[in-house]
């Protein structure tokens, strides 16, 4: 799942870093040549019968959660509008913003996978609504996320690496209020609306899908233009506080939990246990995040719906690194790693597998990791 920015431009970071994260740059070619791209990834053994049970789709949990989600949005939005002009609107906007600017990250994600609902049109409807709110073109991001699952945190291949090395911490902080994300999203929307698909987007969006991306961008541009026009006509910011701006003031939760997915962990390994993080969280965050805190499990078995991830976790945790105990514990691990990467971009957090775990490739678990730590 994506958290901060999608690299759809053409610029390469190779000049400033030994890594080139561009999708059309040096490391992209190297990943293909070395076999890191579209590689065979490690999977924990799960008997087919149990996996089939875990993969089963159901409309019930997602319908329940969607009613709660949209109902809370309507109530908080109505309250914010009612109290507009007084400080009493602040708590209503706080709730509305998180539901608009953060819950949509996980709704976009799960419905994009087609796992949230059993009924496909329900996935499609919620996907389109959530994409609009989180400002992610539903065509572009469907394909970028496909690549993210094929080449998770492979430098030059994964368009959804949220924190590249050395980390740009100012960018990370600014995205807690969605500033850069929204700026790039609006720029991409207007570029797509003008009929332009960037060369980087061209690396993962098939040709026949590109007109759809352009059509959606034009529809969205019209909606935002109408919202701005309404704000000007009424002489009030309220329309923008309800449509568009919540992507900024409500972004903090999805960035907070999203950074934990892969932040500070290994790059260029084909084992999700080493480049993804499972974090135990409070039930409110898990509702907003739709259980994507079980992120190793999700990447290893993306067919398993969000509501079955806790069961999958219990089934395979013997083969995974110990889960991070809390959001706070995750940041206590991740922030020092980011700071060390400012001095040594080869540094990463080495995940320890439990004694019962099955190693995938010894060199991923020992030699490279030891070399990186030793380089510090």
């Amino acid at each position: 799942m994506v958290d901060i920015g999608l690299r759809t431009g053409n610029t390469s970071s190779a000049a400033a870093s030994r890594r080139d994260y561009s999708l059309i740059g040096r490391d992209a070619k190297l990943a293909v040549e070395s076999g890191l791209a579209a590689a065979e990834w490690y999977h924990t053994d799960v008997p087919r019968k149990q996996m089939k049970e875990l993969m089963q789709r159901s409309d019930g949990p997602a319908i329940r959660d969607t009613i709660i989600w949209l109902g809370a949005m309507i109530l908080s939005g109505a309250g914010a509008a009612w109290f507009w002009g007084s400080w009493w609107c602040v708590p209503f906007f706080f709730v509305y913003g998180v539901l608009y600017g953060s819950s949509t990250d996980s709704r976009w994600h799960e419905c994009g996978h087609g796992t949230a609902f059993r009924t496909q049109w329900m996935n499609d409807v919620v996907y389109q609504v959530a994409c609009f709110m989180i400002m992610r073109n539903p065509v572009t991001w469907r394909w970028s996320h496909t690549r993210h699952h094929t080449d998770t945190i492979i430098v030059g291949r994964d368009p959804e690496i949220s924190v590249m090395r050395p980390p740009d911490l100012l960018r990370v902080v600014l995205n807690f209020v969605g500033i850069l994300d929204a700026w790039y999203a609006m720029s991409d929307m207007l570029r797509n609306a003008a009929g332009i698909i960037s060369p980087a987007e061209g690396t993962f969006i098939p040709e026949q899908e590109r007109p759809k991306a352009i059509r959606i961008a034009r529809i969205w541009t019209a909606i935002y233009a109408a919202t701005v026009a309404l704000a000007v006509y009424t002489g009030s910011f309220l329309p923008l506080m309800l449509v568009g701006l919540p992507r900024l003031y409500g972004a903090w939760h999805h960035v907070m939990v999203g950074l934990l997915q892969h932040g500070g962990l290994a790059e260029n390994v084909t084992d999700h246990r080493l480049n993804s993080r499972t974090v135990y969280m409070n039930p409110i965050s898990r509702f907003i995040y739709w259980n994507m805190n079980y992120h190793v499990e999700h990447h290893m078995f993306p067919m398993v719906p969000y509501h079955a991830l806790p069961r999958l976790h219990e089934l395979i945790k013997h083969d995974l690194p110990a889960p991070t105990a809390s959001i706070l514990a995750g940041y206590r691990e991740m922030i020092p790693a980011f700071l060390r990467q400012l001095r040594n971009e080869d540094y990463f957090i080495k995940r320890e597998l439990p004694p019962t775990a099955r190693p995938y490739r010894e060199d991923f678990h020992n030699d490279n990791a030891a070399a990186a730590v030793a380089a510090e």
Binding site: K52, R57, G114, W143, H149, T150, E209, P302, M303
Partner: protein, 105 residues
């Protein structure tokens, strides 16, 4: 010339499920539908060559385990992103409790 190849016993596949079948250096997927009919397709997803036998069968749909691409396994038709290319299908018959797939002719 007709070339019917034994893939498995009819009872080896649960209803609404799929099984991998390799033959002659190629890999296939054999399906048993909810109404107890058998079907066969190429075994690898046309998107990124993942074994469909690890995926999920729902009614007449097989969903790829890697990116959730969907095909109608009865017709081979691709049913939405990220799959764009149809699967090749093969005739299947059940004879004396064995599932036979016609691979070449």
């Amino acid at each position: 010339m007709s070339n019917w190849v034994e893939a498995c016993d009819a009872g080896d596949i649960d209803e609404e499920d799929v099984m991998r079948f390799d033959h002659g250096g190629r890999t296939f997927a054999v399906y048993r539908s909810p109404d107890d009919e058998y079907f066969a397709t190429d075994g690898l997803c046309t998107h990124e060559k993942v074994h469909l036998a690890d995926g999920l069968v729902m009614d007449d749909i097989i969903e790829c385990p890697k990116h959730n691409g969907r095909f109608n396994y009865k017709t081979g038709a691709a049913r939405g992103a990220p799959v764009c290319v149809d699967l090749r299908t093969y005739p299947v018959k059940v004879d004396a409790g064995k599932v036979l797939v016609r691979i070449g002719w």
